[in-house]
């Protein structure tokens, strides 16, 4: 007995360890983006995100000296602080060619009696025998260690950006308006069709299954022009009604396919017993199949919601880009400006748009399990 128990616990450990390894592999890319979304653009391109927590020794961007001139005993002086607190300067210079020419505290002679000193804490003193009002201010290059620094500025940029008059809240609402009906309606329509394809006997059933699988592969881009033409022709043009119909049409093949596969696996005896008891197909469907298929319905609902939520192409074509129609993906893409984006906006916006789908998944997960338990009780 002991031997078996020992083997068992060894196996459990192996399961835990491999799960951890798998999860880490899957999370690291997203985690990197999450960390990057709290850094400034210059930091993101300056060092890897995994270094963001450590104090770094690096060449800082050149800073031009500025400040008010004070006259002291016939000497004109500008004093000030070059860097944020915590910075520790190890070398500095005044020319891009020799950025590490001086030790902290050393005095650099800039000609005409002008001298500059930069201390280890980034404090500087620029002094000159004559006024410096017309002097071209020198730049300071420094090699310094800087403490880790994070910002929530990227998120406030994404969330509160007033660009183009549309708030992100409005875009959120628009996306919801698109996604919810476009998730519910195809499920309902597909459930009936899936039941017919799984449990009703009629000629041509296998062919219809093949037809549905075949339609799965139709590239969306091809359907755009004929369908928009069709919408214009029947008079609904560009609008919410059109996009709901489009998402329903595009989502149906997969919905039917997944649901049919699940329903085929339901125990045959339950359905046959019900038939013997005189239940009609309609009753069997609503009273037995639908409740039993809940996990499949829930998982398809999650996928369809994710697709409509993340979709940009269908929304652009069938909905338009006005302020009360623009969806979240469109809003974020516009934030990036006409010439493509910067890491910091891309990363922050990715997390803003991921929040709702994740919440949906977490809340639906409960239903996934519950439905399964119900299904296993026969």
């Amino acid at each position: 007995m002991d031997g078996i128990a020992g083997k068992k616990s060894g196996l459990v450990w192996a399961v835990h360890l491999s799960t951890i390894a798998l999860v880490l592999l899957w999370v690291v890319p997203t985690f990197g983006l999450l960390v990057s979304s709290f850094r400034t653009g210059d930091q993101i391109v300056g060092s890897g995100w995994w270094q963001s927590l450590s104090t770094q020794v690096q060449q800082l961007a050149a800073v031009r000296i500025e400040g008010d001139e004070v006259e002291r005993d016939g000497v004109f002086v500008i004093e000030g602080q070059l860097y944020a607190a915590g910075t520790d300067v190890s070398a500095w210079g005044t020319s891009s060619r020799e950025p590490e020419a001086y030790e902290p505290g050393a005095v650099a002679d800039l000609g005409d009696g002008v001298t500059l000193t930069v201390g280890a804490d980034g404090g500087f003193v620029l002094s000159s025998p004559s006024t410096m009002a017309d002097l071209r201010m020198p730049r300071v290059f420094a090699t310094a260690s800087t403490p880790p620094e994070f910002t929530t500025g990227n998120y406030s940029n994404v969330i509160a950006s007033p660009l183009a008059g549309q708030s992100i809240g409005q875009a959120f609402l628009n996306t919801m308006t698109v996604a919810i009906p476009a998730t519910i309606i195809p499920i309902l329509v597909a459930a009936f069709a899936a039941y017919a394809l799984a449990w009703m006997d009629f000629p041509g059933r296998a062919l219809l299954v093949a037809f549905v699988v075949g339609l799965l592969v139709v590239p969306l881009q091809l359907a755009l022009i004929p369908l928009l033409q069709f919408h214009n022709w029947i008079g609904i043009g560009k609008g919410y009604l059109g996009i709901w119909m489009a998402h329903t049409g595009f989502g149906l093949p997969l919905a039917i396919y997944l649901l049919r596969n699940y329903m085929v696996g339901l125990p045959r005896d339950i359905i046959e017993n019900a038939k013997v008891d005189g239940a009609t197909d309609f009753q069997i469907f609503t009273k037995i199949i639908l409740p039993l298929s809940f996990p499949a319905l829930a998982s398809f609902a999650i996928f369809q919601f994710l697709w409509t939520w993340n979709d940009l192409l269908v929304a652009l074509v069938f909905l338009g880009t006005g302020n009360d129609q623009q969806v979240l993906t469109g809003n974020i893409v516009n934030l990036m400006g006409s010439r493509g984006g910067d890491w910091e906006i891309l990363s922050a916006s990715a997390f803003v748009s991921i929040a709702v789908p994740l919440a949906v998944f977490f809340s639906m997960q409960r239903f996934l399990v519950r439905g399964l338990l119900a299904g296993s009780v026969k």
């Binding site: 459990v12 799960t19 890319p29 391109v45 628009n174 919801m176 308006t177 394809l197 309609f282 977490f362």
Partner: protein, 407 residues
Amino acid sequence: MHPALQALFVIVIGVGGCVFYFYASNIFLDKVLYPARGPNAGRNTNRANMIRPWLFLFPALALLCLYLAYPVFATAWLSVFNRDGAFVGLGNYSAMFAEPKFVESLQNNILWLIVVPAAATAFGLLAAQLTDRIKWGNFAKSLIFMPMAISFVGASVIFKLIYDSRDANLSQIGLINAVWLKFDGGVGSFLMLRLVPFVLIGCLFLAILWAGWSVLRPLVQGQGGSILVTLARLLGAAVALFLGYELAIWLYGIATNELPYGTPQVWLQKPYWNNFFLMAVLVWIQTGFAMVILSAALRGVPEDTIEAATIDGANPFQIFFKIKVPQIMGTIVVVWTTITITVLKVFDIVLAMTNGQWETQVLANYMYDKLFRSLDWGMGSASAMIIMLLVTPILIWNVINARKEMR
């Protein structure tokens, strides 16, 4: 009216309308058209049962025909005209096959079609099986599922950051290059870059050869089946042979190649390998999908079959491969099919990361290029038809599977 209110309205009208349609049409069929009473009760019931499936199917079929089947026919029609609207027959197709970029994308697509569904399904199955058994399984599942919630464009951003490369004297911001630069050709490098990959890929190589043989075995032993089954077996064996050949080249490469230690690599510009870096993005996304569906199926496996096997002394691996996997084969086919189709359609990843340059073109992006860059509807439609043709083996497999289930 605010669109959100309108959405509520539409949910109510849409859902109510659907329910009403199904309910009313069934009542109409049973009570008015063919009532199951009177002199013709038996005949009427039969007739009603012949019509009923079509009542259930009608809304779905109508939408499918309008939104998907009609564009397919329109595409097939467009594909025989050139950009000036003149009929060219199969001219677009022959022009396409003469284009090196098209042949390249066809080759790449075949690689994608084999690697991505296989890897995503395998990882998904692994994740489903592992997380089913442990307390924090649901949490682990959510984390693996997370990439599904990221749009393809977002995912491309994430992986561009990972694959980023910069000059050797700057600090790397791409994770892969940062790790790569840690290797210096010493013992650690030998262990991590030669020995471990060699063993892992060697195992995969043997597993694939074994799988190919077990697919082919019934044919060699003369157990016939229908023509479709034979074809499917031959195709499976061919795929296994092709993969085995590729992996053999890999093994040779791992053992002998000189590695450029110490210099940052531009991963997305290494022909052939860059395809795998792009595929990794899709595998990363689709594993969550496979995991969710397969874990539902795994939980549906009846406990008594597992208990019986445990009592017979089967070890966990035997239970998994001999009891569970065969029982969820139908679902595995579904997951494989769905991911295959996603692979055929995905162009965002390639468009955003390489736009098909450095020999990474795939058919969907080629089509997008022809449609919207070159404004050549004929060529674009023709390439779309090729994409749809590629799905035929999957189609046959599904028909076989559906027939089996219905018996």
